[in-house]
């Protein structure tokens, strides 16, 4: 079952995931069925119901504004795929 409003290739691009044609076809079918299943929520009347965003109603958690030691620069860079001069190397963003 497919879902006409779901365009997997387009959403995958929004999510920054490259997919091959086979994956697009498989996901289109599988996610169509999941969305079909989720349609059952439309049977409920939710007018006037407050949405729950979080399990606990905790607001404005504050702490004393004091500096704390963070990760050591060397440790923070250890897992970076590309490093030079103690900095993370990123892929070029601006065209020349």
């Amino acid at each position: 079952m497919s879902n006409p409003s779901l365009d997997v290739r387009d959403v995958a691009r929004l999510a920054r995931i490259e997919l091959n044609d086979a994956e697009v076809a498989t996901f289109q079918e599988q996610l169509g069925r999941v969305l079909g299943y989720v349609e059952q929520l439309n049977a409920l009347d939710v007018s006037g119901v407050e949405p729950t965003a979080h399990a606990n109603p905790v607001f404005n958690v504050l702490r004393v504004d004091e500096s704390r030691a963070g990760l050591d620069r060397r440790d923070a860079l250890k897992n970076a795929p590309r490093v030079a001069n103690n900095l993370v190397v990123v892929t070029k963003v601006i065209d020349q």
Binding site: V11, Q30, Y37, L41, L44, T52, R63, N79, K92, V93
Partner: protein
């Protein structure tokens, strides 16, 4: 030297304090158990015996968990150890820091040890979504151990861990605990700091213990729980002794039986074992009260909208820049992102990120995400109303026995429905515990069945007391029951 690997945490600590054996000897027993049994089970992704031995040699056995090795799900950061979330995305990642639960375990004298297999980024119900290896159910190695904390449950069941940590977003501690015949607790949301747990769905995730007895889970909770300034969702509550209600009986305990959790389509053998266990509770003096959670049927749908939406945002951090997999020779930044994520993530993770992105996208947000959040409110209210009448709810943990490896991998929706009895707990933020309640014989194998007790938010002490009373009176010595 006796094999110590079959002892519970409680027995291990008693042995240390009597001087019967040392933490180093206990660790050596574990090493032997892992060498002989884990090749068939595959619970561990890696283990560092040398560091653990050094910690065991200098352990202070008078501390609350002094000298006790605790095995850790691969989603929880332990400084200097790999933390790969069973994903190629993090194949080379070494944790630069300890999660708060790990700092707490160390302070209590415990020895965090080993990395346990899981579904990639905790997305799955069978541990088949690990990028690195399959984990097999110790009771029948042709079957899955459950998931996503499959390694956490399989290690405890196969006596290659005394206890372990898992994480539970929609049942990922309780369902594998049930399918492997061990005890697993999902604490109430906010009980345990999530700092250092790789985030999947932040409004649902919670770290919790798996062990061979309820008592051991309670002892671990005494260490794990508490406010942490590094996790603003952790709750600031007075210190609590989670072992305080152990050793009691079931007289006068009001147990609610949610009728929606006994449905057509579940394995009738699972149902009959759980019903027999509930009847046993009644024979021990519990009062049984039928209750209704009318929105139960919507929980899976709500979950797969909310959890995937949160996951799509949380997993946006894996961009191949500061850490994680980076594609070779990107043409430009977009190509860098798209190929790094294509190569690093497995199918289920991609599927969920795409679904989550879709339900949050412009034009669909109200129809899916906002509606799901409203139905989440209705599910919470169901529980609030039920808990006005009862002390705890009792129901099956999983509708099925452990299924065969490969049986559901092509059918995500069917896999999602494996969590039908555990998901609502996370949506409501309450606590839940799975305890073994019987076996089903199939093809000459005994497969464990789990029973779930659900409690009010922050009512873990009572919940643990009820489960402990059941466990001690049920006549099945699960702490001793060993897979063949």
């Amino acid at each position: 030297m006796n094999d110590l690997s079959t002892l519970t945490v409680h027995e291990l600590q008693a042995g240390f304090r009597r001087g019967d054996f040392t933490p180093l000897e206990a660790l050596e027993s574990l090493e032997n158990a892992i060498s002989s049994r884990d090749p068939q089970i595959g619970a561990y992704l890696s283990r560092d015996f040398e560091t653990a031995r050094a910690a065991a040699a200098s352990a202070d056995i008078l501390l609350p968990l002094g000298g006790v090795p605790i095995a850790i799900k691969d989603a929880i950061n332990v400084q200097g150890e790999p933390c790969r979330c069973a994903s190629k995305m993090l194949e080379n990642f070494i944790s630069p820091y300890d999660a708060t639960v790990i700092s707490k375990l160390r302070a209590a004298g415990a020895i965090p040890f080993g990395r346990l297999n899981m579904d990639e980024f905790a997305m799955g119900s069978s541990t088949e979504n690990s990028a690195f290896q399959k984990t097999r159910n110790p009771w029948d190695t042709g079957r899955i151990p459950g998931g996503s904390s499959g390694g956490s449950a399989a290690s405890v069941a196969s006596r290659t861990a005394f206890a372990s940590l898992g994480s539970d977003t929609g049942g990922s501690i309780r369902q594998p605990a049930a399918l492997c015949g061990v005890v697993g607790l999902k604490p109430s949301y906010g009980r345990v700091s999530r700092y250092g747990l790789v985030a999947f769905a932040s409004s649902l995730d919670q770290i919790g213990p798996l062990a061979r007895t309820t008592r051991d889970c309670a002892s671990l909770m005494n260490i794990l729980a508490g406010k942490d300034s590094r996790d603003s969702t952790s709750l600031d509550l007075p210190a609590e002794d989670f072992t305080a209600a152990l050793g009691r009986d079931l007289r006068g305990v009001k147990l609610g039986i949610p009728k929606e959790y006994f449905v057509d389509g579940m394995d009738t053998r699972v149902r009959s074992r759980v019903e027999a266990a509930i009847a046993h509770c009644e024979s021990q003096g519990a009062e049984l009260i039928e209750v209704s959670l009318p929105h139960t049927a919507y929980a899976v749908g709500v979950y797969y909208i909310i959890a995937t939406a949160e996951a799509s945002a949380n997993l946006a951090r894996f961009d191949g820049v500061r850490y994680g997999h980076r594609a070779d020779h990107p043409r430009d930044l977009l190509d860098h992102y798209m190929r790094s994520r294509e190569e690093g993530f497995g199918s289920e993770v991609k599927r969920r990120i795409i679904l989550g992105t879709y339900v949050l996208s412009s034009g669909y947000y109200d129809a899916y995400y906002l509606r799901a959040q409203k139905v989440r409110t209705l599910i919470r209210r169901d529980f609030e109303q039920a808990f006005e009448k009862v002390d705890a709810l009792v129901c099956p943990t999983s509708p099925d026995l452990a299924f065969r490896i490969g049986e559901r991998t092509d059918d995500p929706l069917r896999m999602y429905l494996a969590d039908i009895f555990t998901i609502a707990t996370n949506l409501a933020g309450i606590c839940g515990l799975s305890v073994p309640c019987g076996f089903v014989e199939e093809n000459g194998r005994s497969l464990p069945v789990g029973m779930q007790f659900l409690g009010r938010a922050l009512d873990e002490t009572r919940l643990l007391g009820i489960a402990d009373a059941y466990e001690r009176s049920c006549g099945l010595d699960f702490a001793r029951a060993l897979p063949k």
